[in-house]
């Protein structure tokens, strides 16, 4: 007798978590749109288009970070190629956006501008259907999904793990970047897609469209968090964590790790694709540099800064790093790489569980100081949880040269 799905879903996140999600949803889905659309510019609470755009971009990054945390934090697979899935989603939706420009491009042709001046006479076959919004939505999910599935199936079947897996994901995204840089590939080369005009016939620069995209990003983030919580607290998630901690033992019990890893890997890639699709219209450009290995490493950095294996940590990490980047690139433009660099070093050295780990430690200490007796049990609970979180790599003592 199984618990109904809805009940399991509700139980996966604690009541206070649902409350927080409700607050977050209220702010992002009602508060921000109102602050941008209804309040006059003179109001101190008015949110400018710049702020909405910036926050919308960061929301997309947060989704990517959550997707990364699902695969790295809970399945122990570090991907250095998640930027590829993000960019594929972006390109899939970008194709639709390019078609929506119609004849408003600078050449007034049916074809996108870059094709006109490169002498293309008709759309290449893989652009077929790109003028349909539904097909674009399908591609946004399917394209990264299929790439991830095929790649993952071969990689996990060959039992490629640890650093080997990380490096070949890096090779994958690097190869894709070079491929997309070529003008002949048919995606605009280095300039990529830009100068979008409209979505479903609506002006892309209108404030309404801006808050719609923002709200969709927020909704996607909420959906990812709920889904993520549900998955990792389910039986599936527990098996996955077991694979992360001791894959061989899980195999000996009779599970096939391939299916578990592959499912999470593909899901993670699809979520990245969705984030990419929402990202492109908000920042107004997609180009192959999104696939550069450095970008993918940065995604891992967000998760590490926030604290991996916590989901909320990924959200926080993406937010902190990107806000810091936006802040420092204005205030001390020549020195921001120092700040970011030292931030990463400090976090890994002193905050092995990221910001969330620090938060827990502080709370535990305060609770201990406030009510020594009552807090004891909760401290024990949280510290053992923390131990569990980083038990995987630390507790298995093996020759370093032979394992990751």
């Amino acid at each position: 007798m199984r618990t109904p799905f809805t009940v399991r879903l509700l139980r996966s996140t604690p009541k206070s978590g649902w409350l927080a999600i409700a607050v977050f949803a209220a702010i992002t889905l009602i508060g921000v749109p109102l602050a941008h659309l209804a309040l006059p510019e003179s109001s101190p609470l008015h949110l400018s288009a710049y702020t909405v755009g910036l926050l919308g971009k960061i929301l997309c990054y947060m989704v990517v970070a959550v997707a990364m945390d699902l695969i790295w934090g809970y399945a122990g697979i570090l991907s250095l190629g998640h930027g590829l899935f993000f960019a594929l989603g972006g390109y899939a939706f970008g194709m639709y956006l390019m078609r929506q420009i119609g004849r408003d491009g600078s050449y007034g042709a049916e074809l996108p501008d870059f094709m006109v001046f490169l002498d293309w006479k008709e759309l290449p076959w893989y652009w077929a259907g790109s003028d349909s919004f539904l097909w674009a939505l399908f591609l946004v999910v399917a394209l990264p999904g299929v790439v991830a599935f095929v790649f993952g199936w071969f990689a996990f079947r060959s039992r490629i793990k640890g650093v080997y897996f990380s490096i070949i994901t890096q090779a994958l995204t690097y190869a894709a970047m070079l491929l997309f840089f070529r003008n002949e590939t048919g995606f605009g080369g280095n300039n990529g897609f830009t100068d979008f005009k409209r979505i479903l016939g609506h002006d892309i620069t209108s404030p309404e469209m801006r808050v719609t995209l923002f709200a969709l990003s927020a909704a996607l983030l909420i959906a990812c968090l709920v889904l993520g919580r549900y998955l990792v607290s389910s039986r599936f998630g527990r098996v996955l964590a077991a694979i992360r901690d001791a894959e061989s033992r899980v195999m000996f019990i009779g599970y096939n790790p391939l299916h578990y890893k592959l499912f999470m890997w593909t899901l993670s890639a699809m979520l990245c694709g969705l984030a990419g699709a929402l990202y492109v219209p908000q920042v107004g450009i997609i180009n192959p540099s999104e696939m550069s290995p450095a970008n993918s490493i940065e995604i891992a950095v967000w998760v590490a800064v926030g604290g991996r294996g916590t989901l909320i940590g990924a959200v926080l990490g993406a937010g902190i790093v990107n806000l810091a980047k936006s802040f420092f690139t204005v205030t001390v433009p020549e020195y921001w790489p120092f700040f970011l660099g030292f931030l990463f070093i400090a976090v890994t050295l002193y905050l092995p569980d990221g910001v969330v780990g620090l938060w827990r430690k502080l709370r535990a200490r305060r609770a201990l100081a406030a009510a020594p007796d009552a807090a004891e049990s909760s401290v024990a609970g949280s510290s053992s949880a923390a131990e569990k979180a980083d038990a995987g790599p630390a507790n298995v003592t093996v020759p370093k040269g032979a394992t990751a």
Binding site: K15, A20, T28, G189, N191, S289, T329, V330, R360
Partner: protein, 417 residues
Amino acid sequence: MNRRNFVKALTLSASIAAIGLPVGAHAADTIKVGILHSLSGTMAISETALKNVALMTIEEINAKGGVMGKKLEPVVVDPASNWPLFAEKARQLVAQDKVAAVFGCWTSVSRKSVNPVFKELNGLLFYPVQYEGEELEKNVFYTGAAPNQQAIPAVEYLMSEEGGAAKRFVLLGTDYVYPRTTNKILRAFLKSKGVADADIMEDYTPFGHSDYQTIIANIKKFAAAGKKTAVISTINGDSNVPFYKELGNAGLKATDVPVVAFSVGEEELRGVDTKPLVGHLAAWNYFMSLKNPENAAFVKKYRDWAKKNGVPNADTVVTNDPMEATYVGIYMWKQAVEKAKSTDTDKVIAALGGQTVKAPSGFTLTMDKTNHHLHKPVYIGEVRGDGQFDVVWKTKEPIRAQPWSPFIPGNESKQGI
């Protein structure tokens, strides 16, 4: 996971989201101008110098009393060679900081990234780098060269008897839009001059390519066919150093196969030992070695500024074409603001057409009345042993830009905004 943490964390992230970034304070007695050049990442190598020259020019204008009695206040941001960040920073400059004009961008993709922002917010961008054309935006002023102000004169020179009467051409570039488009225009141009397809070799390398052995060998093979061969290089940025080093060591001399480059100037040659490269060519609208009073003053001003501001290796800093274009652009804008008596974008745009500036290139440059490009002189320079250029050919007067190349079909009717 502890549930209360989850709540707090979520509220925290939501409140961060709600607050957003603080808006900078305004001072009424200054005019803000934005400087949008990458100071980190791959493009920092080229763009840092443009930021420096822009700051120098602004200081100079302020020292002479500013614009309409107000001092200029530069707002420097770092888009970090990241194209979406360019759009974000442009929006910040125009919408948050309310700058009157932005001087910035280097790569085509960064310009393409910010164009929609300037259009939407009706801002003003001055773009100082030579580019592939095929674009004309109301809100952008292009102070660098269009293809007909750089590429085509250079090829005409190579085909002339003076330039070596080349009959066979290698079009070599980094694989992105500027080289592809330029080479497309050049191919059409060469065809119109009767050069057969068999006498044109086109080759591209990835960004940051550092191994030019195979390509140099191919060029040698191509050049051995008997006809006089020349290489037209649109190789970008860091790849130039390994390319020229290989060229020098492989014994491909300028007297046999001259290489004319469109992206190699004084700044790029600082990283190369130029002694084996003497005689190879570059085409620009300005060279540091030009002899005229404006240029002497310009070079001295920049040297002094670099020393005063602690720029690394200040005693060996050089000036180059995009730096001159930045300098000219800022003065054009200043004059237009003074003519319009306002920093309002539309009024300034209207006032910019027909502005003239006596430029370090030795000519009085005019902003075209309709197409937002400068009329520029073209110089062909030969590399010297000390990393500078000797001018071997120049146009008699500045030429008008053709942003829409007549060598690309369908462009005949479009020349103005």
